[in-house]
């Protein structure tokens, strides 16, 4: 696991969801995101992805976004790490 990506992703989630850094630091790979956090509707997901693109310097195709990729913190982190390795 790439610790920089992990930390930056936690910071973005904290910024977008308005959660305290402590709470986001407590996220495990299994912590549910989309479908588990009521704040994370489609508008919020769009904002989240755009922010991830800007701050982690990747491009996310809309086709790649699905319930699985956003289902948990671990799956989102895996997706972003795979993207960053490719670029």
């Amino acid at each position: 696991m790439d610790s920089t990506t992990d930390q930056r992703l936690r910071l973005i989630l904290s910024d977008v969801l308005g959660l305290s850094p402590d709470r986001v630091a407590g996220f495990s790979a299994e912590t549910g995101l989309f479908g588990h956090l009521p704040e994370l509707d489609s508008m919020a997901v769009a904002g989240l992805l755009t922010e991830i693109e800007d701050r982690l310097d990747i491009v996310i195709d809309d086709d790649e976004v699905d319930g699985e990729m956003l289902g948990s913190f671990g799956s989102l982190r895996n997706f972003v790490e795979a993207k960053r390795k490719r670029t």
Partner: protein, 228 residues
């Protein structure tokens, strides 16, 4: 802080009556505030008004007009373009005799260029549009419909598009996606200067006393030291 009406010019001629929230005590500094756009406007409205309260307390008159078609406006969003919005903000500046402007986020695209002032966290049209298109694509997918950015932009370019609950015309979309924040006599205030994360990012409308304090302080210090 009181509500007031002001006349916004219509492209077709005539005008619509629009709402503004104002703190007007006839003081020397009269600050027009151009709000953030669309969904960001809702998420940042409380923050914007908190900044106004602080500026009022610091002896600065503030005027926050609605963009026609947004917030309390009865005008049709489909009749608006970035140009008509810019004309409306120029009309509001004249009506309220603004001496400076503070543009918030996407509102920087519409700030009257003849006024000195500030652009807080300015954003370009293409980036704002991309996030709105993405939100529409994701919610369409949840409803079992498959849409793409290319297809939506092509459709929007001929017949207009509904984005974030706003019916936007082809003319609006064509102009908006090309719109970039102009370098001007207005100073850019970055999010770093306020600390924390921008409230337009928040999934739900939020507030931040610290950020409102910081933004109001930058403006109040600049205006009062210029007068001294």
């Amino acid at each position: 802080m009181t509500p007031a009406l002001w006349p916004a010019p219509r492209v077709q001629g005539g005008h619509t009556e629009e709402l503004a929230l104002i703190c007007d005590a006839g003081r020397a500094h009269r600050l027009l505030i151009v709000p953030a756009l669309f969904d960001a406007a809702n998420r940042m409205r409380r923050f914007t008004i908190e900044v106004m309260r602080r500026l009022d307390g610091a002896g600065i008159d503030c005027f926050l007009p609605d963009l026609p078609g947004c917030n309390e406006s009865l005008a049709a969003p489909a009749e608006q373009t970035p140009s008509s919005w810019r004309a409306a903000m120029a009309a509001a500046a004249a009506h309220f005799r603004a001496s400076q402007v503070l543009a918030i986020h996407g509102g920087a695209l519409l700030a009257p260029s003849h006024l000195p002032g500030w652009q807080y966290a300015p954003a370009n049209g293409a980036g704002l549009l991309r996030a709105m298109l993405r939100a529409r694509i994701l919610s369409a997918r949840e409803a079992g419909r498959n849409e793409t950015q290319e297809q939506l932009l092509a459709q929007g370019g001929t017949e207009g598009l509904e984005l974030s609950g706003y019916r936007l015309s082809a003319a609006f979309l064509t102009e908006f996606q090309m719109l970039e924040v102009a370098t001007s006599q207005q100073r850019v205030i970055s999010q770093e200067e306020l600390g924390g994360a921008g409230l337009w990012l928040r999934a739900e409308p939020g507030e931040s006393r610290e950020q409102a304090d910081a933004l109001a302080a930058i403006i109040a210090v600049s205006l009062t030291s210029a007068a001294a």
